[in-house]
């Protein structure tokens, strides 16, 4: 990208380019940075003693951490622990399923689909352009008690009268996989497609079996792609609150951390608790992102040497 930078860095010229980026930068400052800071100002701010409304405090020197302490207590030992554990297990399970289904698909399209590649790629991209909620609605239709899924089960004599939309965790996990797996497959496909084919041929020429080539060459080389794909899928999954609500008729048995946040802010009007929870969630995701960056850098270094 540096070589495309173009114009020589002269002082007044530089100002012109800065001026061009100004509207965008100003927009993001006002509507991304300030709002983000507002989360902290509300979480560490005061509560109006009478109206119980939130009173944001902007100066970090006057921040109070009592609300945050309470939320952390609830997360680590109180009523929110179940929700957090459930969120982690749903996301972990969904990610595992994404790998299990997504890796073979991405691998096949990237390396073996010769004649059908165009059509397959189009089919992989298509879900991106179908509204997420419509894709979920499709499952709600299929999983009705008298819906096609139960009729299929009845047809092969495996029951067929179950209400799948009543707070079943498998329904929610499959729904999450269905919703987010396109975001997993495409980056992984791109990584596998870029993989140096000469290395694989060299491995085969040196007598390794296809399985061994896959285990020793393809899989290690695809780790960065796999990590990128996982992060892209996991980030939105952690904040999801609509998939589980939609697919379990709002049952509390499948609630995730996002539901709690949404309820605190829009339902029961406890912005301070909601804001604190968002900070906890962001901290969790930050740890994840850092881990991802460390692994990616290490993998790049390993490939380079």
């Amino acid at each position: 990208m540096a070589n495309a930078a173009g114009a020589a860095p002269g002082g007044h010229r530089n100002g012109f380019w800065g001026f061009l980026s100004l509207p965008g930068v100003a927009w993001l400052l006002a509507l991304f940075v300030v709002p983000f800071y507002a989360i902290a100002a509300v979480a560490f701010g005061r509560l109006d003693p009478i109206l119980r409304t939130s009173d944001p405090v902007w100066s970090p020197w006057q921040w109070k951490f009592t609300a945050m302490g309470k939320v952390l207590d609830r997360v680590f030992g109180g009523d929110l622990r179940g929700v957090v554990v459930r969120t982690l297990s749903y996301v972990g399970l969904s990610l595992a399923l994404c790998c299990l289904i997504g890796y073979p698909v991405a691998y096949y399209v990237a390396r073996h689909a010769s004649r059908w590649r165009g059509a397959l790629l189009a089919a992989l991209v298509l879900p991106f352009w179908i509204s997420y909620l419509m894709r979920m609605l499709a499952w709600v239709n299929l999983l009705q008690v008298d819906g096609y899924f139960n009729r299929l089960l009845g047809w092969v004599h495996l029951g067929g009268s179950r209400n799948w939309l009543d707070g079943d965790w498998p329904t929610v996990v499959i729904g999450l996989v269905y919703g987010y797996i396109p975001f997993f497959i495409l980056p992984l496909y791109a990584a596998l497609e870029r993989l140096d084919k000469r290395l694989i041929e060299a491995g085969r020429d040196l007598g390794a079996s296809p399985a061994r080539v896959f285990r020793r060459i393809t899989l290690p080389l695809s780790v960065p792609g796999l990590m990128a794909a996982s992060v892209i899928t996991v980030l939105p999954m952690f904040g999801d609150y609509y998939t589980n609500t939609f697919l379990s008729s709002g049952s509390p048995r499948t609630e995730m951390i996002g539901n709690q946040i949404e309820r605190d802010l829009r339902g029961t009007s406890q912005p301070q608790t909601g804001a604190s929870l968002v900070l906890v969630l962001s901290a969790m995701l930050l740890v994840l992102m850092t881990y991802y960056l460390v692994v990616t850098v290490r993998a790049q270094r390993a490939v380079a040497t």
Partner: protein
């Protein structure tokens, strides 16, 4: 593409792939078919009809104001987001591509952050800022529009910068050597060359906005600012008629029309310009 080593075709992998594709698309096709149901059921198909689109005098999408309103909101929101975000994003991309210095590095990082921020975090942030700080902004449609623009800007910057890197500085330099000033070089040389990327940006922003649920929902004030995804969310759980499927199908047709149009026009432009920019379609897909 021929492999050096023909080997066996991996039928197991092929089967998994085709099954996955069936699984990913068939439910949506079934939902679309249900929208043409003549009966009230959303799970069993009776016979083909336009009932839930036009002919039902009270409950079809055409006649039910509670379905028309979200449709109108969604399209208005997406169209305005697209028209406002794209110029901001394009100028920002051009600026960031050439701007040097510490402030520029910070701006670059700032531009990347929205891409990795989970929607719920951004939704909460915007909700709090509009209820606590920018209280003068009328809540509802206006705040939704501001929110959609905020999460769309980075997409445009990424798409346009990809194209800028491919073009390189030489065309502008040639224009400058031939006597154009900097603005003329931008307007007469660079902008036309950015055409496909700008068009892709318009469509990506449109599709992203029309599909958004979380931000719209956090910034909504009720029925007057309900969008189609919100309507699907609210109606899918309650007892709804196939009109909801019809509404979703109409949205799908809108989005796919926008995307196909983008693909066709970009291919035309590419053929005319003859440039090597097959990364364009890829970026369109990768960003969506």
């Amino acid at each position: 593409m021929k492999r050096n080593r023909p080997g066996r075709h991996p039928f197991g992998l092929a089967t998994i792939t085709w099954l996955y594709i069936l699984w990913s698309l068939v439910p949506v096709l079934v939902a679309m078919r249900i929208s043409f149901n003549s009966g009230k059921s959303r799970s069993a198909f009776q016979s083909l009809s336009w009932r839930w689109y036009f002919t039902d005098p009270a409950k079809s999408v055409w006649h039910d104001e509670t379905l028309v309103q979200p449709l109108r909101n969604s399209i208005k929101l997406a169209a305005l987001s697209m028209l406002i975000t794209t110029p901001i994003g394009v100028t920002m991309a051009i600026g960031l591509q050439r701007w040097r210095g510490r402030l520029s590095k910070a701006s670059n990082a700032l531009m990347l952050f929205p891409l990795v921020t989970p929607e719920i975090v951004m939704g909460v942030a915007l909700f709090l800022v509009f209820t606590q700080v920018y209280t003068g902004v009328p809540r509802g449609f206006t705040t939704q529009l501001l929110g959609h623009i905020t999460f769309s800007i980075s997409y445009v910057v990424v798409i346009v910068r990809g194209r800028l890197a491919a073009i390189g500085p030489q065309y502008e330099e040639a224009a400058r050597d031939l006597g154009a000033n900097r603005l003329q070089a931008l307007r007469l040389v660079l902008l036309p060359m950015l055409g496909p990327a700008i068009f892709a940006s318009l469509m990506v922003v449109f599709a992203g906005s029309i599909d958004d649920f979380v931000i719209s929902s956090f910034l909504s004030t009720g029925a007057s600012s309900e969008t189609v995804p919100m309507k699907i969310y609210a109606g899918g759980r309650a007892t709804a008629t196939p009109a909801l499927n019809a509404l979703a199908t109409i949205m799908l047709v809108f989005t796919l029309a926008a995307v196909s149009l983008a693909a066709i026009i970009m291919r035309q432009m590419r053929l005319r310009q003859g440039g090597a920019e097959d990364a364009q379609l890829g970026s369109l897909a990768a960003v969506g």
